[in-house]
């Protein structure tokens, strides 16, 4: 496998992990909304908290994490952009 292909394999892997986490916070937990709501977090019913703040915060953290991981992958295979590009 060439360098480019290996880089793309890793990039795809990261994309899939990112989308799995996205699916959990965007959909999976809300399939069990009424069960979640019986527990509470900081005094809020849990399902309510997750759509008011929890999932939104999770998405922000996820995108920052994704961007850093992808930069590492690009570095590993020598595809980092030069500043003057």
């Amino acid at each position: 496998m060439s360098n480019k292909e290996k880089h793309w394999e890793k990039t795809k892997g990261l994309m899939i992990i990112t989308l799995i986490i996205w699916f959990v916070f965007g959909y999976l937990i809300f399939m069990f909304g009424s069960d979640l709501n019986t527990s509470s977090f900081m005094g809020y019913p849990l399902a309510y908290y997750m759509c008011a703040q929890g999932s939104i915060i999770a998405f922000v953290v996820l995108i920052f994490w994704f961007a850093n991981r992808q930069e590492k992958i690009d570095e590993e295979f020598g595809f980092t952009e030069k500043e003057d590009d």
Partner: protein, 612 residues
């Protein structure tokens, strides 16, 4: 005052600007104490901020193609994040979202999840690759990746339909706010709003829109957060509302069962003469409706909004302006961070507003009190007079019940500061924030349409030999034409603000989502496949919308997929058709496959040249 170039000085410039805005707020507060009328304060707030945007728009004027289309590709990540956040958060997010949560509770909050989660798709599937491609517009990518003018043309059609549906709602919102703040008729307000919007974008295109959007973000976030924190502190709900309203949410649940959640019969509402668009609370605030269908409705709405986010051209094109691919990725993260500041505050504002109104133990509470007494309250009277609130004593006992108090969703944001007894200067600030939110989104949308028409239709298809001067002239002329068309339709008021906004997402996802991602992620995708997918997706989605929308054919939705969710049908059809047709046709040539390989590597030159 500022040495060095403009980009290096951005933090200083916008820091000074923010400080200046705070000084302006303080001056207004002093003027209010000195006896300036509420009306004058409102006018000054809106006029002052709009003038600042117009000045920024003028200073950013340009005669260069890449500055006009992609702001010279030098917008730093954090600033592009702010600009995207303003581009994204529309008049609907600012004015209607808290009201939506107030009336819709948990079920409505699917919009919050949907309007934020889409950015995960943008960052992992699209933004970095489109940036590497080096296109000026979204159809530019479709046209080059798949080749041929017809594919480009189809993408322009989807873009125009989706963005135009959205922009009428934004111009409508600027009109509403301008007419209220400046005390002019709505029809005139729409045109005042349009002129303000065009002042920001006409001379400098994307460059001007970028720097005004940053300024607008600063105004709108200040205008949203100050009231939330102030109300929470003043009414003793807690110093930091986001972490401290658990008790109030529980209290709302108790009050709901005490008063009872009654859904009024349509006939009763009509008989009582409730003005259109006003609602009473009939849904639990934090309770989750039982059953699989309710969960599916929540998830399907979130899905449409997320996939729609990742297909809306006015958002995607913001990531063409960053200096590098790396910066494009980071910039998506910053965008969502800035959006989250407002989105996580909206449920808090809805909670504060609701508890202030329905808790009879609070001095601000009105539910459970005699109607004659409530009619004496100044703010109640003011909002009833403009048909934004209404009282219908259904059971005739003279006491206001929960189902007897009607108001428009927008009132939550616009009136809560007044209800909590904040000075009028805050209401003026909120008007300026709403204006900033609606203007910034309208600017992004009008520019997306005008750029696609001028670059993809005029320059790429009609007259490829046109010189720079002529191209920019056409781009500006189109900006005016599209804005005027939007304002004209907005003045006819076709659908409520939110209905139209959700439709734009569904149109965009029906026609653009799969052609965009498969263009990067599937080398085998062919021109014929993409064209067939775009046409079939858009046609089936639109047909389904006509089939279910109550005002058109009004048939029963299939599997709960109603007019807010028709993108599910369109996008599925688009995917199937695109894959089948691609596999039936010959695979793309060597050059195209190499181009896709190049797009996947962040380093190196963009696919399209710097000037094209």
């Amino acid at each position: 005052m500022f040495k060095g170039n403009f980009i290096d000085n951005l933090p200083k410039i916008y820091g000074t600007y923010t400080g200046g805005f705070f000084i302006f707020i303080i001056l207004m507060a002093i003027a209010e104490q000195a006896g300036m009328t509420a009306k004058t304060i409102g006018i000054l707030f809106v006029a002052f901020t709009v003038c600042i945007y117009a000045i920024i728009g003028y200073l950013s004027r340009t005669v260069q193609v890449d500055a006009y289309y992609v702001a010279g590709r030098q917008v730093p990540t954090v600033f592009n994040g702010m600009a995207t956040a303003a581009d994204w958060m529309s008049g609907a997010s600012f004015v209607a979202m808290a009201g939506g949560i107030y009336f819709g509770g948990y079920t409505y909050m699917a919009f919050l999840v949907g309007w934020t989660g889409g950015y995960v798709l943008v960052s992992s599937l699209l933004a970095p690759y489109l940036r590497k491609f080096g296109c000026y517009t979204v159809p530019d990518f479709i046209g080059t990746r798949y080749g041929g003018n017809f594919a480009r043309f189809c993408a322009v059609v989807v873009l125009t339909l989706a963005s135009f549906t959205y922009v009428t709602a934004q111009i409508n919102a600027t009109g509403t706010i301008a007419s209220r703040a400046l005390s002019i008729p709505f029809e005139l307000g729409v045109w005042v709003g349009l002129v303000s919007i065009l002042l920001c974008s006409m001379l400098g295109g994307m460059r001007a829109v970028t720097w005004t959007q940053v300024a607008q973000y600063i105004v709108l976030i200040i205008a949203y957060l100050i009231p939330v924190f102030w109300i929470s502190n003043k009414s003793g709900f807690g110093f930091f509302p986001h972490f401290m309203l658990g008790e109030e949410v529980a209290r709302l649940g108790a009050l709901e069962s005490q008063f009872g959640l009654v859904k009024n019969a349509a006939a009763d509402i009509k008989a009582a003469g409730v003005p259109g668009g006003l609602k009473s609370i009939a849904v639990s605030h934090a309770g989750v409706p039982e059953g699989g269908m309710a969960a599916w409705k929540f998830i399907s709405l979130a899905l449409c909004m997320m996939v729609g986010t990742a297909s809306l051209p006015h958002i995607l094109m913001r990531y063409f302006t960053t200096p590098s691919v790396k910066a494009a990725r980071k910039s998506v993260a910053w965008s969502l961070f800035f959006i989250a500041l407002l989105y996580t505050s909206a449920p808090m504002l809805a909670t504060l507003s609701k508890i202030s109104l329905i808790d009879p133990n609070l001095p601000t509470g009105i539910i459970g009190k005699p109607i004659a007494e409530i009619m004496q309250i100044e703010w109640v009277n003011a909002w009833i007079n403009v048909k934004q609130a209404f009282i219908a004593d259904f059971n005739g006992d003279g006491i206001l019940q929960l189902n007897e108090w009607f108001m428009r969703g927008d009132v939550v944001v616009l009136a809560t500061p007044e209800v909590a007894g904040l000075p009028y200067v805050i209401s003026g600030l909120v008007a300026a924030g709403g204006m900033a939110a609606a203007m910034s989104t309208a600017d992004g949308l009008i520019l997306a349409i005008a750029n696609a028409l001028s670059h993809d239709i005029y320059y790429k298809i009609i007259d490829p030999k046109a010189d720079v001067r002529k191209r920019l002239l056409v781009a500006r002329a189109l900006l005016i034409v599209i804005g005027a068309a939007g304002a004209y339709i907005a003045s006819m008021r076709i659908t409520s603000i939110l209905g139209a906004v959700a439709w734009a997402f569904d149109f965009a996802m029906s026609g653009l989502f799969f052609p965009l991602i498969l263009g990067v992620w599937w080398k085998r995708a062919t021109r014929q496949g993409a064209i067939a997918g775009m046409i079939a997706g858009l046609a089936s989605g639109t047909a389904y919308l006509i089939y279910v929308y109550p005002k058109f054919m009004g048939n029963a939705p299939w599997l709960g997929i109603d007019h807010l969710r028709f993108g599910i049908i369109g996008a599925s059809v688009c995917l199937v058709v695109m894959v089948v047709v691609s596999l039936m046709t010959e695979e793309p040539d060597k050059a195209t496959q190499q181009m896709v390989d190049e797009v996947r590597i962040p380093s190196g030159k963009t696919i399209l040249g710097k000037q094209h």
